[in-house]
């Protein structure tokens, strides 16, 4: 799901209200893909590219634009989206969350599953790590914003670092996986060294390459 931001004229006022929004819920845009709807801006708006840069500097991840006027310069980095009638149905309420004084507790950032993940099941946890006390079956998938720990056989798919976390890792007691992915870099079973099959293994990213090694 992507969020849609629609800047309104006057842009300066809109930016101010956006800033106050961000100060009230600092993590709201973290890791969320954003589509910018520029349709409300008048054609003669100066320096639209500058506005987009300003948003990027605020940590907003723009994945595309909509409604840009053909005369605007400097938007090449943000490709226009051709949404086929899939416009969002309603505006989203931004939750008011207090600025955390201390980092969130470990509990809030990890998910523990104490039973096997069965074929066809999908466990997704974008906020952090997933630990599974059991096996992940063929045809099941586990998707985490952080790392994935499987204290059993990993026979399905494990997708770690979903929110752009290249330091995420995947650990399993027995590697039989169909697919491993970290921050968009993936390997299928065919790509994995046969010597690692059935072994306790960890996977991590070294640059753009996925590395796999036995744990013991």
């Amino acid at each position: 799901m992507a969020l849609v931001l629609a800047p309104e004229p006057p842009v300066r006022d809109w930016l101010e209200s956006l800033d106050s929004q961000i100060s009230r819920s600092p993590s709201f845009f973290a890791g969320r893909p954003v589509v910018l709807d520029l349709g409300a801006l008048p054609t003669e708006t100066p320096d639209v590219a500058g506005l987009l840069r300003t948003l990027s500097e605020r940590g907003i991840r723009i994945i595309g634009t909509e409604g840009a006027h053909p005369s605007w310069q400097g938007l090449e980095a943000w490709a226009p989206l051709h949404a086929n009638g899939t416009r969002p149905a309603r505006p989203i309420d931004v939750p008011e969350e207090p600025v955390p004084a201390t980092p969130p507790s470990q509990d809030g950032n990890s998910l523990l599953i104490d039973q096997p993940v069965r074929s066809g099941q999908s466990i997704a946890f974008e906020r952090g790590d997933i630990t599974i006390m059991g096996s992940v079956a063929s045809g099941a998938e586990v998707i985490a914003g952080g790392s994935i720990h499987v204290y059993g056989a990993l026979r399905g798919r494990a997708i770690a670092g979903l929110t752009g976390n290249s330091r995420a890792r995947i650990f399993c007691r027995k590697l039989e996986a169909e697919l491993l992915a970290i921050d968009g870099v993936y390997q299928t079973a065919d790509d994995m060294a046969p010597a690692l099959r059935g072994k306790p293994v960890q996977a991590w990213l070294a640059g753009e390459a996925m590395m796999l090694a036995k744990l013991d």
Binding site: V117, S119, G120, S135, A137, A140, A153
Partner: protein, 272 residues
Amino acid sequence: MATVIVVTSGKGGVGKTTSTAALGAALAQSGQNVVVVDFDVGLRNLDLVMGAERRVVFDLINVVQGDAKLPQALIRDKRIDTLSLLPASQTRDKDALTAEGVTRVISELREKFDWIICDSPAGIERGATLAMHHADAAVVVTNPEVSSVRDSDRIIGMLDSKTAKAERGERMDKHLLLTRYDPARATRGEMLKTEDVLEILSIPLLGIIPESEEVLRASNLGTPVTLGSPNSAPAKAYIEAARRLRGETLVVSIPAERRGFMGRLFGRRAVA
């Protein structure tokens, strides 16, 4: 108190209907009051395997939709009077089953019987989910083949999430019934090993039913194998499985290959 059991598998052709009939008959033979219910609406088979196809007047759909009373649709077995069948409709499809209707039928059956054994259709759609919804326990029928094992795993996941018991936050007992086990192919390594299946599915083993001509013959004759040839290897395995369902603890025996004369000859030579 009545126990509702769903016999399920995900995959078709693994032996759900045969196992429903054999387990139902075995439980009834031990004096329990048993009804076997065919949930495979549109592809009715249990009546054939039970040898009651010519006695079907009303069916599950008639009862679900209120066109017939439950006692009118129940068919009592001619060989064991504690065994009954509630047949499916062959002319309708699964959409004719309503959740409320099934709930009502199951609660009526609970008052009449000790065991309600529901034969689930293959697949994971409406028919299968309605068959499992009211179950207290499940018998997961699996062949020692990778496709069957993965489909069973999918079904186990649904038993843990889509049933009334799961919705109440309770845990459903699940039993693995390994069917069509071929000792000869197992020794040649052409099938998944029992321990591999158990490791993947991680649910307790109810029994191992050997692949046998007797099972096929029993199905075609309309006689559950535990009734027709109670001394055959598959019948013994089903009878033991039924005793385990009743809570007895019995060691599961892995069927060994019955070797022919030449096999015995070579076997002895190898030992000598």
